[in-house]
């Protein structure tokens, strides 16, 4: 008896007839059997768990044994493994991908981020659990789950499919969009803590190009810090030949505008966009000053001190009360 016949025995019975076998079962059982035996997952990874998912698909654990072949298109796949943290920006795409999959379709939420948001759950940009976006059939805990856990989760899903016991959990947040106001936090701004070299705002371009001529070509990073005196920008450039770093700071005071370094250093382009996004400093002369991390219609600048970490700015992100009551219900 072959493997297929062996697994068919679980769902029906064989009757011996002269010259042939007669197999009797219900159509529901037969379809369920066919569906569970060839789950084709969408090759779609988000974060760390995706690396473990890849390891599960690769040599040692070999998911092909379970009839699984990854498909790059959602239209060809019937299983979606959410492996990693779901952000608000990604949530819309996940919903689109899910809608593009043909029914019947299943979802496995792998890893604590996809289940509940884990330690990122109170962050402004993170969806605390993918079940706020799409219905989830099986949860695989772990940070990240081991390949064995992945396999167990998939086998659990196969069991559910063959027993016809699929009942996905799904929740829709009612808040989110209503709470667009940015809450004021109690975090106190400190007075300036940086002691190193400060330069005047107007000198910046001259100063940077002066050092660039001295072979300080390598732009390490640009960042900002929110102090009582106003936002302070930090620039670090380096001379790779001498291994010397040059760190200097600019205090912006009340203004929110400064010259862009993007013409001197190519890398300043994205660094300044990040600061514009997270701190709201605009750089005059920047070729493409748009938000880079947050969605373009986002309100507020998250890394400012008055911005509350736990802000609810999207329909996918439930309020804290909703989140607590939903997770205790589970």
């Amino acid at each position: 008896m072959g493997n297929v016949e062996k697994s068919l025995k679980d769902i029906g019975s064989f009757t011996k007839l002269p010259g042939a076998n007669l197999f009797t079962t219900s159509t529901t059982k037969l379809f369920n059997w066919a569906q569970k035996s060839s789950l084709w997952p969408l090759s779609f990874g988000l974060a760390c768990c995706a690396i473990e998912m890849m390891a599960t698909f690769a040599s040692r654990y070999d998911l092909d044994r379970l009839g699984m072949i990854t498909r790059a298109s959602p239209r060809q796949s019937d299983l979606m493994i959410i492996a990693g943290t779901v952000t608000i920006k990604m949530a819309e795409r996940i919903k689109t991908l899910y809608d593009q999959m043909a029914s019947p379709k299943w979802v496995i939420a792998a890893g604590s981020c996809a289940i509940s948001g884990d330690h990122y759950r109170h962050i402004y940009s993170v969806v605390p659990g993918v079940d706020w976006v799409i219905p989830v059939d099986v949860y695989v805990p772990g940070c990240p789950p081991r390949p064995e856990d992945f396999i167990e989760g998939i086998m659990e899903l196969q069991n559910l499919i063959s027993n016809g016991k699929i009942s996905p959990t799904y929740n829709v947040s009612t808040g989110g969009k209503n709470q667009i106001d940015i809450k004021k936090t109690k975090t106190k701004k400190q007075k300036n803590l940086i002691e190193n070299k400060f330069i005047n705002k107007n000198e910046l371009l001259n100063y940077a190009s002066q050092y660039k001529n001295k072979d300080f070509l390598y732009l390490k990073f640009i960042t900002a810090t929110d102090f009582e005196e106003g936002l302070t920008l930090t620039y670090v450039i380096s001379n790779t030949k001498l291994g010397e770093d040059m760190e200097f700071h600019v205090n912006l005071g009340n203004s929110l505008e400064i010259d862009s370094l993007s013409e001197l250093f190519v890398g300043a382009d994205w660094q300044e966009r990040e600061i514009y996004d997270l701190f709201g400093i605009s750089f005059s002369g920047h070729p493409n000053l748009k938000r880079i991390m947050m969605p373009e219609d986002w309100i507020g600048h998250p890394l400012k001190k008055e911005y509350d970490m736990d802000t609810h700015n999207s329909p996918y992100r439930p309020t804290r009360e909703e989140y607590e009551s939903w997770k205790t219900k589970l």
Partner: protein
């Protein structure tokens, strides 16, 4: 002959690549504006994995931060926590026992190999397609990676988020049987790494797909802030392990492989050669782990006890992707006032808007894969 191929003009066409795309190494979206098969202009969209780590660190005590940071660059988690604890130790002037320093470097170098193996394996998928010849390279690389992860597991109990670094030292000791296993691993993996290096450097398909594709000049690489294998492939002799040394790297003997052309081929070859250098470092370490304490700090009851002095501080380490730095502003309390993560992937990737235009669509995947970005590290 080649010059006579006429590209039919289909007018301008904009196509989207990602955020769900098997060859973008994560959640990243490229909008390619095409003229026929050539890329005219690109727009890059990121932030699909922005988890607000920098904001999160503003509510966590210093001792609680390393495990969170390990989720950042998830192919080499130890480098993340190593960079952070290094910075805090320099701020608080905490001495690290020699033994702890050796164990840190041991784990970091093991993870460098596993990270470069993932980079090579997924690069195979990028070039050959997931059902074509590229899949075999992927499967072989992951087979080798599992062996390294086994050692991690023996050493720390987890497969890759080892969480071995803590401020002042390390959490776990290296036992004698683990050293034996690492010795076996070196014997097993060295000929394999050499073989992979030979295979890809002689394979005509690989060479044709990668040679002189995505060339980054040394000047451009520096101005964009590229570091690690991306910068070294362009001939910049800059490695934090050597130029601004940390831990016990100054006692170790290793070379820094350099490329000449700065193309996708060089970047891959530099990674392969770095693997062999890492093996050299690991060999030196397991032969000379000194005895002593694992941590210079006494066991503490509360994470609130560690309070670095007021001021700002920056220091960096060499992660498999390049310079990973931490800029910390302390207000004298037990939580950082502001922490900036200088991530190598973000700076390396920022060059893509400059080097993609002029290439074919198929090369966009080649170039992106050769930069080896990790999106947890790009978006933070």
């Amino acid at each position: 002959m080649e010059d006579q191929i006429v590209e039919k003009d289909f007018g301008d066409l904009a196509i989207n690549m990602g955020p769900q795309h098997p060859a973008t190494h994560g959640v990243f979206r490229l909008k390619l504006y095409l003229q026929g098969e050539r890329i005219n202009k690109i727009e890059a969209f990121l932030g699909y994995l922005h988890r607000g780590v920098e904001k999160l660190t503003e509510v966590l005590d210093y001792d609680m931060i390393p495990p969170v940071l390990e989720r950042d660059d998830y192919l080499s988690p130890t480098s993340n926590s190593l960079g952070f604890v290094n910075t805090v130790e320099k701020m608080c002037q905490i001495e690290v026992p020699k033994k702890a320093s050796y164990i840190r470097v041991l784990v970091a170098e093991l993870q460098r190999i596993s990270s470069h193996l993932v980079a090579l394996g997924t690069y195979g998928l990028d070039l050959g397609g997931s059902l074509g010849g590229g899949a075999s390279l992927f499967l072989y690389c992951f087979r080798e990676r599992e062996k390294i992860l086994d050692i991690m597991e023996e050493l720390t109990g987890t497969r890759f988020h080892t969480n071995i670094n803590q401020i002042g030292g390390v959490r776990y000791d290296v036992k004698i049987d683990v050293i034996k296993k690492i010795n076996d691993l070196i014997k097993y993996i060295r000929p394999i790494l050499i073989e992979y290096n030979d295979v890809i450097s002689k394979d005509q398909i690989f060479i044709k797909r990668t040679k002189s594709i995505g060339v980054i000049s040394a000047q451009l690489a520096q101005e964009a802030g590229c570091s690690g294998p991306v910068a070294r492939a362009s001939g910049i002799n800059f490695d934090i392990r050597r130029n601004q040394t940390y831990e016990c790297y100054d006692e170790l003997d290793f070379d820094i492989p350099l490329g000449t052309n700065g193309d996708s081929y060089d970047r891959t070859i530099v990674r392969m050669k770095e693997n062999l250098e890492s093996l050299k470092i690991i060999e030196q370490i397991i032969n000379g782990i000194p005895s002593g304490d694992l941590s210079s700090r006494k066991p503490f009851k509360s994470a609130k006890l560690l309070k670095p002095p007021k001021g700002s501080f920056y220091s960096s380490v060499e992660s498999p992707r390049g310079e990973l730095g931490f800029f910390i502003v302390s207000d004298g309390s037990s939580i950082p006032y502001r922490m900036k993560i200088r991530s190598p992937s973000f700076s390396n990737l920022s060059i893509i808007e400059k080097i993609l235009p002029g290439n074919f669509v198929a090369d966009s995947v080649t170039i992106l894969g050769s930069l080896d970005p990790v999106f947890g590290d790009v978006d933070r």
